[in-house]
């Protein structure tokens, strides 16, 4: 499998395998169908926003708006849930696309720095979510088929959300690996000016990644509303940083020009797994770590990954 297991990205897969093995050996119910399906259901949101973020970061950009855009989309989807999934799902994704178009316009059109442009969209989406929902969670219509997406599972095991998320992953992967658009995405991140001078359609690549990231955030919002029964205008705080962390753990450098879609997925799952294992450890009762510890441990985990990356990067330079 070329591309998947390339040297730099190997470590994240190894870490994922080691943690899963650890969980299976240590905790009785870790390998249960219930744990697997709830783990995948919850983390499908993070997988999907991380993939969008991965493509943005490949161009050397950043998208800080994904968390609040997801919250906004969850409100829109919940409000339209009486009309069923056929309406609510596209509406949620369209909400994300509008936010993505706003980002793309500011970044590719007005040439604003991505950090500031998406920061503005982040605030605006939060404001829009709060004013649309009147500052309250919006319950979904349980009578319609809207909650089927977030709550039903294939063979009682795989949530539909993770399958949809994997479709987005596959799409992103094919784009990056097999299309000239994907090559341009990486070229923009490597050296935007050179890519432009070579006649590559750099703006089109930038527009694409922010639209894609917006659509992913919208989809995550639909997952949220559908899986947890409400549009939640205040959810999504810090999601952008979780996604950035997943991308970085997956071996993609923030400077752009390189990166791996599958490794980003592994990075997102790795982060989720740390939480999952902590919950099991608490369940054993030998010692109990409060929820407050989780963020400390997540930060430590990120630190270790970054230190390893810094080392690897130095070794790579020497050779």
């Amino acid at each position: 499998m070329p591309g998947v297991l390339r040297q730099g990205h190997l470590s994240v897969w190894v870490a994922l395998a080691v943690l899963i093995l650890f969980g299976v050996l240590r905790y009785e119910n870790f390998a249960s169908a219930y744990n697997l399906s709830s783990f995948l259901g919850y983390n499908s949101m993070f997988v999907v926003i991380s993939v969008g973020m991965c493509l943005v970061i490949m161009t050397g950009g950043i998208d800080l708006s994904v968390g609040t855009v997801a919250a906004f989309a969850s409100v829109v989807a919940a409000m339209l849930s009486p009309h069923g999934l056929v309406v609510a799902l596209p509406a949620g994704v369209a909400t994300g696309l509008v936010a993505g178009a706003l980002n793309a316009g500011m970044i590719a059109g007005l040439r604003l720095p991505p950090f500031m442009a998406t920061l503005a969209t982040m605030l605006a989406a939060k404001g829009a979510a709060l004013s649309l929902s009147d500052n309250r969670t919006v319950p979904v219509d349980w009578a319609s088929d809207f909650t089927a997406l977030g709550m039903n599972k294939v063979a009682n095991l795989l949530p539909w959300t993770i399958l949809v998320a994997l479709v987005m992953v596959a799409f992103a992967w094919v784009i990056v690996q097999r299309t000239s658009l994907g090559r341009t995405v990486l070229a923009v991140g490597g050296n935007a000016e050179a890519a432009h001078l070579m006649g590559l359609k750099t703006r089109r690549a930038e527009v694409f990644v922010y639209l894609f990231s917006g659509a992913c955030a919208g989809l995550a919002g639909v997952f949220l509303a559908s899986g947890y029964g409400a549009g939640q205008p205040l959810e999504g705080a810090g999601w952008e940083l979780a996604a950035i962390a997943a991308v970085v753990v997956g071996g993609t450098l923030l400077t752009g020009g390189m990166g791996s879609v599958p490794a980003t997925v592994a990075g997102a799952l790795l982060f989720g797994l740390v939480f999952n294992l902590l919950n099991f450890e608490n369940g054993r009762g030998a010692f109990s770590l409060s929820a407050d510890w989780q963020s400390v441990i997540r930060g430590l985990f990120l630190l270790i990954v970054i230190l390893l990356q810094a080392r690897l990067a130095r070794l790579a330079v020497k050779h």
Binding site: R111, S131, S295
Partner: protein
């Protein structure tokens, strides 16, 4: 200042328009109470934004300021409520200000070392403390709200000097001091050169690593001070809430004030004006019955416009 920076002039005009608008439409705008309320609210943002401006001038960014505020804000009451501090109130008060500031500085040192010596990108390096710093503060306090009555300490957030809140004066003094540091010290020169062209600074023999580390330490210490002020203001310390979203307010103030994310520019007075502008804009909307949500959208538009105006000038 021999000539006024056009960016600063634009911001001053915008502020003047906003003030005139308020005098015209906002009831009871021109009284001491309104001024004091606004000054006490803007002070913490301004103090953090000063540090953020230095970081941005170095070509970096600091996402951890809110979490550092929480760490400092959680430590202070733990210290002055301890048995030792109750027995030695004077020393206890000093310790409850100095030790949290040192802890904050240590956080900044950690950020600076990662960035300057390991070459980690600033957004990622400071993301570590953004995620875990608040967790550390919550673990320290067991996730409990600490309430207290300590008039000496709360003076920092509730006292008045000449009718204006103490923290407003602190912000003002710090602005002047930091502006002087940027203009008159070697550190200030190096800071702008590192942010302007890091490669050239290295080749010219500037102590790039030390300058960067010092910058993150200053930013974190200022954030720690802001954390103490917030706790003093509320007579309570809630590690989960202190300084939440502060990094965004501070970045917005710095950028509206004329800092460029690409580095090399440290408009200190602009930052103060930027913080005042954002505060006043929020106050105008809320005082005239426009909701918090709309305020967010307006703030977003202001940030986008400010960044766009900067771009236009550079080309």
């Amino acid at each position: 200042m021999t000539r006024l920076d056009p960016r600063l002039a634009g911001l001053l005009v915008a502020l003047a328009v906003l003030l005139a608008l308020n005098v015209a439409i906002t009831p009871n705008f021109l009284n001491m109470q309104t001024l004091a309320v606004n000054a006490s609210q803007v002070a913490t943002i301004a103090i953090v934004a000063l540090g953020m401006t230095l970081v941005i001038a170095s070509g970096g960014i600091d996402l951890s300021v809110g979490s550092v505020m929480a760490v400092a804000g959680a430590l202070a009451p733990m210290i002055f409520l301890s048995a030792w501090a109750v027995a030695n109130p004077g020393l206890g008060l000093v310790a409850s200000i100095v030790l949290p500031l040192l802890a904050a500085a240590a956080c900044g040192l950690f950020n600076g070392l990662l960035i300057a010596h390991l070459g980690v990108q600033p957004i990622i390096a400071t993301l570590i403390f953004f995620i875990s710093g608040r967790g550390i503060a919550q673990v320290l306090t067991n996730g409990q709200l600490q309430t207290f009555t300590n008039p000496d300490f709360t003076w920092l957030g509730t006292g008045r000097i000449l009718g204006l809140p103490v923290q407003g004066w602190i912000a003002l003094v710090l602005t002047v001091v930091i502006a002087l540091v940027v203009r008159r010290t070697i550190y200030g020169r190096y800071l702008l050169s590192v942010g302007g062209n890091e490669r050239a600074s290295v080749l010219a023999g500037a102590p790039v690593a030390r300058v960067k580390i010092a910058t993150y330490v200053i930013a974190a210490t200022l954030a720690g001070l802001a954390g103490l002020i917030v706790v003093a203001q509320n007579s309570a310390s809630d590690a989960a809430r202190i300084g939440q979203l502060m990094e965004l307010d501070a970045i917005a103030a710095a950028v509206v004030g004329g800092a460029a994310l690409s580095g090399g520019r440290a408009p200190i007075f602009g930052t103060l004006l930027g913080a005042i502008f954002i505060q006043l804009m929020g106050y105008t909307l809320i005082a005239n019955g426009i909701s918090d949500e709309m305020t967010l959208i307006v703030t977003a538009a202001i940030i986008a416009i400010a960044v766009w105006l900067q771009r236009g000038r550079r080309v």
